[in-house]
Symmetry: C2
Subunit: 247 residues, 2 copies
């Protein structure tokens, strides 16, 4: 394996996934993945720009950061790129008033958004909120719209909790897409716009960044953003979450 | 419009859909679609062979027939081709032991099937049973199987109840297909085998049958079974359910 300094030649920043890479969530709040707390600390000491880039959509950024800090991570809210704030930008830009099919933990992110007389549906990982009644309400609303707009916070198939694998928002988005005969607009990974906004936040070009972590690869970041480097950086850093997926 | 006798030249049988064609379901049991009770009676008087071919998967055949008889239809259990009994044949033939993600109303159809140590998932229109917990249990089981088998009773996008449009099994099947990276096997419309079994039951060839009704067209029966005639037979019969879909 090439030396640390050699592998990092030309690298100015790192995008880090959170769930499944830094920690595994669970009913107890979750547990850090072995080595990840130290890896983040080492990255920050190295002078690389670090951006946490997550599709987490059950918790607000504030709650997520508080949890990670309790688990020992050096992280602040301003370092996190998450789909809910990005969605709020899209909603405002396009004059969309959402019906929210989301987890209660993330509802506060939409406090400042007009939700009267909805003209679109925003779907996120609602967990137990994916009841038949809630899905059907979103479906009926979409079917009533002349121009149905479905915005999905990510398109993950599933994620891992300490209790096992859990269906993610992508599965439920597929259900609504099929029932309504429409295609959702994804905000979050693997949307190239999402990664670009994270790069802009740290002022680093795509070819200067590394993306260690499983979700990034499975979500297709290599194709989504031109130039992000692949390699075994994650292993070198001591990040061992989803080892079959390191980029 | 051609005369009744002319349009029926060479026709020996009729496959009739039930939900959305003969009646609209609902919390109150449902209501007959105007003209449909008389249309069934007229068909039977005409000497044509009649087979009721439904994807109904919230009720057992017995409960469905009892309901339809209460609504005034001349129908018996032996005249109905439904996906649950067809699924039981498939399960027995292939030695499959299902985990059932189905409505309680249809569970009795599987009473004689070994459900211990499941090696497949059978999904039907579970209605309120499509909770996150139930979906996740089916998902986890499929992910644990070396050769995951998902059998779906139909692939309808939605159906109409008196209270409005309702998400159908097809949407939830898509969710599991996407999450697991598999393709479900459909028993029920639009599976050609399903229509063929209905034709066998009345001893009529595909080119000798007419399929008036909306669901048949939307489910692609025209392509699924070679030769079923299309036309305005439904209108002539006085069947007015889903008029934009008559075949």
């Amino acid at each position: 394996m090439a030396a640390w300094s050699e592998r990092l030649a030309g690298v100015r920043g790192v995008l880090l996934d959170i769930s499944g890479v830094l920690y595994d969530g669970g009913a107890d709040g979750g547990t850090p993945i072995a080595g990840s707390v130290e890896a983040v600390a080492r990255l920050k000491r190295s002078g690389l720009k670090v951006r946490f880039c997550t599709n987490e959509s059950q918790k607000s950024r504030r709650d997520l950061v508080q949890l990670l800090r309790r688990l020992g991570f050096d992280i602040s809210e301003g370092e996190v790129t998450a789909p809910a704030p990005a969605t709020c930008l899209v909603l405002r830009e396009r004059g969309l008033r959402p019906h929210l099919l989301v987890h209660d933990g993330i509802r506060s992110e939409f406090d400042q958004i007009d939700k009267s007389n909805p003209n679109c549906v925003v779907i996120a990982d609602a967990g137990e909120g994916f009841s038949y009644q809630n899905m059907n309400r979103a479906f009926q609303l979409l079917m009533q719209l002349d121009n149905p707009v479905l915005i999905s916070l990510g398109k993950g198939r599933y994620y891992k909790e300490t209790s096992g694998l859990m269906l993610d928002v992508g599965a439920y988005t597929k259900a609504l897409e099929y029932a309504c005969g429409i295609e959702a607009q994804v905000v979050g990974k693997p949307s190239p716009e999402f990664f670009k906004s994270a790069l802009q936040d740290i002022g680093v070009a795509a070819h200067q960044v590394r993306v260690p972590g499983g979700a990034a690869l499975s979500a297709g970041v290599g194709g989504g953003v031109e130039g992000p480097g692949r390699g075994s950086l994650g292993l070198e850093l001591g990040l061992r979450g989803r080892p079959d997926c390191w980029v």
